[in-house]
């Protein structure tokens, strides 16, 4: 079953006399349980494509469906609600709420979903355990290392039980050890729990772990490769 379906996506940024096609006729699907990396050099349109799939940006042309729902037909308010329930985000610079602890950062998204406290508690503890950060649950982001913060960000993305996780350059700010640890965790979540991951990256360490690599060049898909396990 396809989690993401895009058809002829185009995103054009135009200035006074300059037109840039950041995404140029992209059509591709992401199936449930995939561990996919979108790769390409800087400026190839990876982040723009991810933003469109994540409902953060709108294409000029084309269609994008997530969980069979057409995002281009949704209002801004509907998109916010859709993101909350269907898409988990992991950002390059972690983007945790600095005044909340690791536990509270993970719980926060479920609070926005109006989940009850018992359900929230069970889910947060389960996720803290899954990303190996249970002992740091009462620490605020400033008291955690970059790798630890990114693991909290992954747990936060998973908290609302989304259809898939969008991760924009998740390892860009991490050292090798933290990167390896984070990838181990994400891989385990993918293999054991079937969680779909879609990364944008140009980090070879991430590409090496991906089981599908979609290459983007100048806004177009130039290669779509399934890696055998």
């Amino acid at each position: 079953m396809n989690v993401v379906e895009t058809k002829n996506l185009e995103k054009i940024y135009s200035d006074a006399d300059l037109e840039v096609r950041a995404v140029d006729g992209v059509s591709f699907d992401v199936k449930e349980g995939e561990f996919t990396a979108i790769v390409g050099p800087s400026g190839s349109g990876k982040t723009t494509l991810l933003n469109i799939i994540g409902g953060l940006d709108a294409p000029n042309y084309g269609s994008v469906k997530v969980a069979s729902q057409e995002l281009t037909e949704m209002s801004k308010s509907e998109l916010i609600d859709f993101r909350l329930h269907n898409i988990g985000f992991v950002f390059q610079s972690y983007n945790l709420i600095p005044v909340l602890t690791a536990y509270e950062n993970i719980e926060f998204v479920m609070l926005l979903q109006n989940r009850n406290s018992k359900e929230r508690k069970e889910r947060v503890e389960e996720l803290l355990e899954a990303v190996g950060i249970a002992e740091k649950s009462n620490k605020r982001p400033s008291q955690l290392s970059g790798g630890q913060q990114q693991r909290v960000a992954v747990a936060r993305a998973l908290a609302p039980k989304p259809k898939f996780i969008l991760a924009d350059e998740p390892t860009a700010n991490l050292d090798s050890k933290s990167t390896a640890r984070l990838l181990d965790i994400m891989e385990q979540l993918n293999l054991k729990e079937g969680i779909t991951f879609l990364f944008s990256t140009h980090d070879q360490r991430v590409i090496d772990r991906a089981r599908r690599v979609v290459t983007l060049t100048d806004g177009k898909i130039t290669e779509d490769k399934i890696i055998d396990a």
């Binding site: 933003n51 940006d57 916010i80 950002f91 983007n95 709420i97 926060f108 926005l112 993305a157």
Partner: protein, 403 residues
């Protein structure tokens, strides 16, 4: 959690929070303190002139307002006494005969306002007995009570005998020989220099005014509402008898009150304007500092309305805390100057005395004044905080995260 988030956000930048709180507190204290002094001075002036002798309202002949002389009289009979006793807003009343005469004591003389009163009724209205510094109020014909400055001028003391000669009703000559039984100290210094009180019966005989009185002065249960109460009472009278409020009887003082009110609004507005800029700067700084975070929150699915609510709630908490602390600082400060008025000296004191006011300034302890200033500062905080709602609602998550 949203409350927790708002509360922690307030303290994420302690220095900025303390500066904002200090600014709000300072604004409340300064605005309250300034208003307390302005209203305090004004209250004292009105109370000196109106509460001390003139009265917050009076029933006069219409001609009396422009020509306050003994010829203009109003009836003071059982019917009007019944009316005054039955009106719930009227707390006290005092009939007066107002004559003018030359008062002589030995070789000293002075043009004096001779006021004929019923001591019991006058005392219930103006608490005249509380101003007696020596002797007592008169209780029978042939007795007089003098203002302290008048007594000094005449070199008259208790048991002195003074002679009054003047014009009575309908051209009669008024001659009275009176014994000084009391000296009073009126807070209105001009009145203290020229007022003498005799009984109503003595005044009737002396001025040959056997029917009616020149004025029935009124006191109300709530003197601050005197103007509106009098407006409602006007229909009960038939011309030429009419009821007047202190603002109509003393237009110059009323104008002074209005000018003072306007000045207060202008000064407060300037202060609020300055405060507004400070607050707006703080809000802009906060929005700029947290733009990336706001973008992230919208991206992960936090509704803009909820985010705006959290940020507005932070400002509300700061506004209430700052205003509350400012309020607590202002109360004892204002109370101190209310209990310990500042005595003016030199030329300024002389000038003020010339207008009949006491040369002291103190603060008003009016609850409305306190609440008014606190609410004004709180309102400014909340109105400017609306800008944060506007900014959040128009925010683009991607742009915000990349700035």
């Amino acid at each position: 959690m949203l409350f927790k988030l708002a509360w922690r956000n307030i303290w994420r930048n302690k220095r900025r929070t303390f500066i904002t709180l200090a600014m709000i507190q300072f604004a409340v204290v300064l605005a309250t303190f300034m208003s307390a002094f302005r209203y305090g001075i004004l209250d004292a002036q009105v109370e000196n002139v109106v509460g001390g002798y003139q009265g917050y309202g009076a029933i006069n002949d219409t001609s009396f307002v422009n020509e306050p002389n003994i010829e203009n009289i109003v009836p003071f009979n059982d019917s009007i006494k019944h009316y005054l006793n039955e009106k719930p807003d009227i707390k006290a009343y005092s009939p007066r005969i107002l004559g003018v005469g030359m008062m002589t004591c030995g070789e000293k003389f002075k043009i004096t306002k001779i006021t004929g009163i019923e001591p019991r009724l006058e005392d219930s209205l103006t608490h005249l007995s509380s101003f007696v510094v020596r002797g007592r109020l008169m209780n029978q014909s042939g007795e007089v009570v003098l203002g302290s400055r008048l007594s000094k001028r005449l070199k008259a003391d208790l048991d002195s005998v003074v002679f009054v000669t003047g014009m009575g009703y309908h051209g009669n000559t008024a001659n009275m020989l009176l014994k000084v039984v009391g000296i009073i100290n009126l807070s209105n210094l001009e009145e203290d220099k020229r007022l003498a009180f005799i009984t109503l019966d003595e005044a009737r005989e002396g001025f040959a005014l056997y029917e009616g009185v020149n004025q029935i002065v009124l006191g109300f249960n709530n003197n601050s509402d005197a103007i509106s109460i009098v407006r409602e009472l006007k229909d009960d009278f038939e011309l030429p008898t009419q009821v007047y409020s202190w603002s109509e009887l003393n237009e110059s003082l009323y104008m002074l009150v209005q000018v003072n009110d306007a000045a207060n609004v202008i000064i407060s507005s300037i202060l609020y304007f300055v405060i507004s800029f400070g607050l707006f700067g703080t809000i802009l700084m906060m929005l700029s500092e947290r733009k990336r975070e706001f973008g992230m929150l919208i991206a992960i699915g936090m509704k803009k309305s909820k985010l705006a609510y959290v940020v507005y709630f932070e400002n509300l908490l700061m506004g209430i805390t700052g205003t509350g602390i400012g309020f607590l600082i202002a109360i004892p400060l204002v109370y101190y100057f209310h209990e310990t008025p500042i005595d003016l000296t030199g030329q300024m004191a002389d000038d003020i005395e010339k207008y009949g006011f006491e040369p002291t300034i103190s603060t008003s302890m009016s609850l409305l004044m306190f609440l008014g200033q606190a609410l004004a500062v709180l309102s400014i905080t909340l109105i400017f905080s609306l800008y944060s709602i506007f900014r959040i609602r128009s925010m683009n998550a991607i742009k915000a995260m990349h700035e």
